[in-house]
Every structure is written in C-alpha cells, then in structure tokens.
C-alpha cells in the first residue's frame, strides 16, 4: 500500500534550489525513528473503536455547516445528507481515504535540503501555533507583534531541533486581521528556508498563501508538489464550519496538505472517557480527510488530533496529564491502521511561566509524541498557558528537549563499535574508561549535549549566579537572535513577494474580522 500511495519529490529539487538561493544545512532535516512505536491498545481494542467510529459516522453523522458545495460532494459520494447533517455509510470514509490519500508525502522547503517527509517512520517538529500573547523574562506577558513573530521564525530557523517554520507561531496583533497573514507568510518565506504552513482563517487568505508559494517555488512546481501544510480544525463535536471547509477546499484543490484535526477538550467536547474520545476523534478525522479526497482525490492529508482533558473541578483545560497521553498513543495507532500520516502532541502546558509545571507537562506530552510515532508535531516549542502565550525562554527549553527526543528515537547502536567489547577488555575491573582507545575514538559524538541544562557542581552553579533554567534560556535566545543571518533569496523573487503583499494590502481597507 505505502509504495503505491507514496508521493515523491520529483526531480525538480535541484533546479528549485538554484532558483531560491538555498543555503546548505548540516543538520538532519527531520527525525527518522529507529525504535518501535509504543502501543497501548491491542487489535481487539482498536477494532472496537473503529467499529464505534463507523457507528458515529453512520448513525449520528457529522455536520458540515454553511457550505452547500460540501453537502453536494457528500451526496454525490453516497452519503445520507439531511439538512447539514451528513451520515456516512459504514466504510465509505475509510475507503475514500485508503483508496486515494498518500501514506506519506514530501513537503518541499525552498531549501531542498530542508524538505521534510511527513509520514512513515518520520517525525517533523514544528513550532507552536496561534498564541495571541508572548512572554519573556524581561518584558513579561504582552500581546504579540510582527516583530515577535519574526523573532520566533528566526529562532526556529536557527534551531537544529525544529524542522519546520510553522504557521501562526504567534498572532501579530499589531496588524489588521485581514492582512496579517500576508506578513506571516512572507516572514516564513524570507527569514527561514524551512517548510511552512498556510493561512486558514478565510478561503481568500488560503488563496493568498498559494499565490505567494507560486511566486517562491514557481507555478509548475507548486502544481506538482506539496509546499504548504495547513491546519484544518474540526469544530468538535462532530462539526466542520465554513471557514475551515473553505480553507480545506483551497488547499486540497491545489494539492497542498491539510492537517485535519479534531480539537478536543475531553469532558466538554467529547465524553469523559479515553475510548469514547478516541472514537469521536477517529470519526471526525475520517470525515474531514474523506472530504478532502472528495475535493481532490490524492490530495495529501494528515490525521490530526489535539486532545486535552478538562479539569472536572474548574472547567479549565489541562495538559501533560495521563489521559491525553493515552489518547495520543491510541490515535497514532488508529492513524497507522488507516495508512495516513499522524499529527498530535507538542510541548503542551497550562503553566503561565517556564517553571517545573511547564517542563513536567511539556515533557510528558513530547515523550509520548516521540514514542507514539507522531509524524507532524505542531506546538513543539514555545507553548505556555494552554497555547495563549508563546514564551521565548520556553521555546529554547522545549527545543533542547526536542533534541533529546530525537536522540532517543535513534535507538541503540549494535555495531561492533557500539558493542565496544574492546573497551571492556582493555579496561577491566576497577579501572575507568576515560582514557581507553574506544572512548577517545567516540567521545565527541557520545551522549546528547544539552544547550541549557546545568550539570555542574552546586558550588560552580552558585559561583555563576545560581541561575535557573529560564534565566539561562533567556541568555540563549538573545545570543541566537544577535547572531541571526537570513538565508539567501533570489532578489527578484523577494521583490515579487513584496510586491504581491503590497498590492493585496492596498486592495482592501484594514479590518479586524
């Protein structure tokens, strides 16, 4: 199945590189897992949930709101359409996906060395998405601006652990709502050469994203390749609204990727149990992905889910707790059985500051992300306050943890050098291995090196100012930004992009809708 459905990169990568003035990248462009996925459900459990999800699609149905075309497409496909409620015959959604959607696909970056393969044994770490606020130690919490947005694009560009530039890393609220997508997309294109995400807040903004991609990559290249991923959230429970459907149609028609994501606060937007939440997620994700295949068979899709659970005391969303981790593991298994790439996880936390709670919850989630086999991990770095704020220090702390996950996923080297029987024989009982030939040969690549952790003695740590993690991270992001150099770009392409942005801004008055 996977060979037939794999969507390759095509031979244009080299020409593409020349065209956009790509710089070379030494870091691996994404993670390829060499250890097994962790699985919480056995085949019987998975079959129960799959059966129940089909029951949801067939008996309860999914609402496709304010989009007559969507209802028409479903009717033509054989669904029972009653008002805006679409009841999908058992097996139809799965068949539409399995017959058409690629099991993995390449998202091209303007620097071909940074193109990522989404699906299979690969994991792509993508920054946080959607925060109206930012926070740093110097200025505290404040509304995000375009300058913050660009800073975060630059930090993601410079991080070895982030493979993608992301989308709405933060909301530049200093710009009008109807125009800020132009500056965001341009910033991704200009200040990074990693792959990026497109606007989904209105169909015409999705169109703008595609047009700008055509300028950057060339029209022919975009027609044949995926250069944009987009985040299409379901309006859970069991509903898609016209904004998301409109954006999804634009991207699918242009053969660009939709990450169809039920966005669920369990207890409010799904039942209070893990199995039922998984059932609902599978039903919603299948409905959305199948819809994209009705729009354009073969358009790349990702089975996404964002799951948290609600505090039953306060109603607040919680993150990094055990139930969302179980949902994540289970959903990853369901996606693999469906044969599509999977998006979930991240460095999620409800904490307001980059403290122990933030690290504990984020680590709980990102470890599950790695072991579950997530292919596309949005919110990998920066998240605070359930996504309301992007933290500069948190961004650096998370990026360090991503490096640890990446190293873990590379597994255990069982080569002769890895077995190191020569070292054991050379050293023997009671001696130390520091000076052994094997250690000398290997010490430079041995063991993950954290950029932020302080492993020194108490006395040394104290003499260096008794800094906590956030204070060290504060120094680090400032140093990074001071060293930033933009990737090269063809000046003609850059001018064409700027020109497009200017014209689109001039065409309509500012609006905050």
């Amino acid at each position: 199945m996977s060979e037939r459905r794999r969507r390759g990169g095509g031979g244009r990568a080299a020409r593409q590189a020349a065209r956009t003035g790509a710089v070379s990248a030494s870091a691996a462009p994404y993670v390829t897992r060499k250890v097994p996925c962790y699985e919480v459900l056995d085949a019987e459990g998975l079959e129960i949930i799959e059966h129940n999800a089909e029951t949801v699609l067939e008996e309860i149905g999914i609402e496709f709101r304010d989009d007559a075309e969507a209802l028409e497409l479903w009717k033509d496909a054989g669904a029972d359409v009653d008002g805006e409620r679409v009841r999908i015959p058992r097996g139809l959604a799965r068949k539409l996906i399995q017959d058409n959607a690629p099991s993995e696909f390449t998202q091209h970056a303007r620097n071909p060395e940074r193109s990522v393969v989404i699906g299979g044994a690969n994991t792509v770490f993508v920054p946080g998405y959607g925060s109206p606020f930012v926070r740093d130690l110097d200025n505290g919490r404040r509304y995000a601006t375009l300058e913050d947005f660009q800073n975060l694009v630059k930090l993601a560009y410079m991080s070895r652990s982030l493979h993608h530039s992301g989308g709405t890393i933060c909301e530049p609220v200093d710009l009008p709502v109807n125009k800020r997508h132009l500056d965001m997309v341009y910033s991704h294109m200009r200040y990074s050469d990693k792959p990026f995400m497109g606007s989904v807040t209105a169909p015409e903004r999705a169109e703008d994203t595609v047009e700008m991609a055509k300028i950057l990559f060339g029209e022919d290249f975009v027609a044949e390749n995926t250069v944009i991923t987009s985040l299409i959230n379901a309006n859970s429970p069991m509903t898609f609204d016209d904004t998301m459907l409109g954006a999804a149609k634009v991207y699918a028609r242009n053969n660009q990727a939709c990450v169809v994501s039920p966005f669920i606060l369990a207890g409010a937007m799904s039942p209070v149990t893990i199995a039922a939440t998984l059932t609902q997620i599978l039903a919603e994700a299948m409905a959305g992905m199948a819809f994209s295949q009705l729009v354009r068979p073969g358009a790349p899709v990702v089975f996404g889910t964002f799951a948290s659970s609600m505090s039953m005391q306060s109603g607040a969303p919680t993150f990094g707790t055990p139930e969302p981790a179980l949902v994540l593991y289970g959903a990853a298994q369901l996606a693999r059985r469906l044969g599509v790439p999977f998006r979930s996880g991240g460095s999620l936390t409800a904490s307001k500051i980059p403290d122990a709670q933030a690290a504990q919850e984020s680590t709980n989630t990102i470890v599950a992300t790695g072991l579950a086999g997530v292919n596309f991990c949005l919110h990998s770095a920066g998240w605070l306050e359930g996504g309301l704020a992007m933290g500069y220090e948190k961004f650096m702390i998370d990026a360090d943890q991503l490096g640890m996950v990446q190293t873990f996923l590379s597994g255990i080297d069982l080569s002769e050098n890895g077995q190191a029987m020569d070292a054991l024989r050379e050293t023997g009982p009671g001696k130390h291995f520091l000076g052994s030939n094997h250690t000398q040969r290997n010490f430079e690549t041995a063991f993950y090196r954290s950029a932020i952790a302080d492993n020194n003695s108490f006395e040394q740590w104290q003499s260096e100012g008794s800094l906590d993690t956030a204070q060290r991270a504060n120094k680090q992001w400032k140093k990074k930004l001071s060293e930033y150099e933009p990737p090269e770009i063809d000046p003609g392409v850059d001018e064409a992009l700027r020109d497009f942005v200017r014209k689109r801004k001039d065409a309509v008055p500012d609006s905050n809708v």
Copy 2:
C-alpha cells in the same frame, strides 16, 4: 517458571496486622501495569548483549574484593578464581539465578495493607536515597538532619503515590556515622507503616536492621518472609567490595531482599556506548545476584541498575538524557528475560533547584521508568543535584508526577461505560458533553487531578500571587506535615525497639567511620 518461583506472603498477615496495630489504607498499595512495556531492543539485539555479558563474566571476570568467603563460594560453584578475580563459566550465573531466585516476592509492611509485591507487572515507588543535603525554599541548601529524615518519612507515609518508606532518604549528618542507621530504621518503623530498606554501610548495621525487624514483625515471621529490601551497589566496573558483600551476605542469609545495582556513570565507569553499558550492567548484576544465591539459594534479589551518562565536556554526571533512558529500557528487557524483578529509574536530575530543568530531566526518567516496566523504583521523589540534595518542594512535585504515571499505567477502559456510545448518541454534533448523563455518572473519577499544577486562567493565577510550581509545593508540604499523625504501634513493640536502639548506641563510642 513464575508460579514455581513466586514467593508468597503466607497466612500470617492478619496476625501480623493485629500485632503491629495496623491502620487501614484506602490507596492502592502499589501500581499494577495494565499497558504493555515499551521495548527498544529486538530479540537479536538482546541475544548479542547477553552473549557479550557472558563473555565478560567468562573472559574478563568480576573482582570480589577483601572477602575470602565470597571467593570460596565461587570456587565451590565452579568459577575460576584467580586472586580476587572471579571468572564465571558461560551460563553459570544465569543458571544460579534462574534455578533459585524468585521471579517476584512480597515485601511485607507492618501494615499488611501496605505490603508490596515486587516483580511481575507491579511498580513500587520508593523515595530518594542517600542525599547528604536537603533544600527547601525557606532555608535553601543545608546538611540534612534527623529531623529532615523524619519529615521526609512522614511525607512519604502521607503520599498516595509513594508505596514504600525507602532507606537513607537523606543522611542525618547530625548523628554519628556508626549509629545513625539505628535512628533511620527506627524512624521508618515508627513514623510510617509502609515497607522500608535496611542499612548496608557495614555488615553489623545490616545485622542491626534484621534484629529490629525481628522485634517489629516477630522472629518467626522474619524467618519466613521478606520484610527488608537493601541496596547493594556494585563498585563498577566489574567489582564488588567487602562492605557491599558483607551487607549482601547478612540480608541473603536472613532471606531478605538484595537490590544488586551496578552504579554506572557511562563514559567513566562503562564504555561510552549504550550497548556496552548494557553488557556491563548485565554482567555485574548477574554476578551479584548469583552470589546471593550461593549464599542462600532462593533469597529474593532484584536486578538493579542506576545509569547516568557523563558530560564528555565537563566530566559531570547528566540525568534525564536520552542515553540513560535507552539503557533503562534495555536493562528492563534483560531482567525480564532473566526472570527477576527490576530496579531502575526515578525522578533524576542534575539541577540544583526545582526548576524547569529538574522537571524535564525527572519526567524524562520517570516516564521511561513507568513504560519500561520497572518493578522497584528508588529515587522516585525528592532528588536534586544528582542525588546530593533532597528537595522538599521537589519531593511534592515528583509525587504528583508519580500519580500521573500510575494513572497512565492503568490504561484505557474499554468497558461499555468506557466506550460511552450512549454519551455520543445523547449529545451529538455541536453540543457539549458537560450535562450528559454519562458525564454526570463519571465526572468524579474522570481524569487525573494534580495537587500542584495550576490550570487556571492567567488572570486568576496572577490574582493568587503569580506563584510558581515550587512555591505552591512549598505550601503543600508544610500543610501535609502540619496534618501528620503517626500510624499506631503496639506500645510494647515500640518500647522494645527504643530499648534496642539505646543499648546498641551505648555499646560503642560515637564514630564517623
């Protein structure tokens, strides 16, 4: 195998309960895993490491230092003893373990409802061990005292997430070295009714522990049951010293449990690779466990390992990094194949304070601990500074995380109530589940409730003083200690214990060796 080798509790638990004045405990006494273990190595990889470990035992050998009796036992068993170097024929150590050691055993607590089963699908969380310093927000870092020790025993007693009272939770350095074990063992016995660990710093201190256990549990009961676990560290690489061998002999002869633990800083005390570190761990653990079976066949043993990796830049130990996690997962698999309980993991960190680094590293380790199937988890709560300090706030933060691990390990409920199709049918598209009958029936037990995490809005958090995790934990441990009530104990038993401690203290002058 496991039935034949399982060591049961015997019928004396009820009498025992009456004797020691047990109080009832509502919390589950330990974790029983309902999800699979995560495994990083396949059968071929495991066989390579097992083969190499046998090569280490046969060709390089293990040193048993300053213990003529140990060498004699090995010679009689068929090993090649050359000076203090013991070369163990291929397969001999494994056979001694598999023919004799129990695959799981019960460690009895004086409150039978708190007895723990060590091995199988069970995980027992045990506090930190061995720190000379303590830290809290009010008084910073300072040498630990007996008062700190007792405070931590009380906090562990009151925590639902800790199943064991531990051993040297911190070193009461206000007491002479040759007598402090008496106060520590008494404190575990008096201020908690959970199981505890015995002294290993000298054979006579191990004897004191056994004598006190006989007073607490009755001589007959101790002769037939395991009531003490002890931490027997190898002096890696490939060495056991007379202190540890002496303590191991005392406990094994008395049928009490030895946790045989290679203590390895990879890069210094083992080669810089994961596979070679696993090889060395397996060889050392097998040698120590086989030795305990030579002392007394059938004595309960645990395959232990404590692994960190060295910073190749500074020489400092690092924790929570990917390589020790891979070692942990691999060693757990090796222990299962050997058929003995496994000890590793914990809430390990190199951080000096309970900040983001501390939480990140501890969470990385404790999640691996849970998923690997660790049976006995020392250092579950409190660790800072690579074990040099026990943090009061860190203790509470870790205990909360242990609760999350426990909930995760209980897996996904696939009952009809768990599937909750009634809730999905009742609510349907676009509605919320808060008021559904299913939610009303289940909300009290739905979702893990953190005692420390702040999930409230930014505004509410700010209005409550913008506290960080450590500040909230500070309030919590003080509240716990203020509410502490000791478990009941038979006054005659208590007096006999005090009398023993007094006599042993009076018998010799104070010494700090």
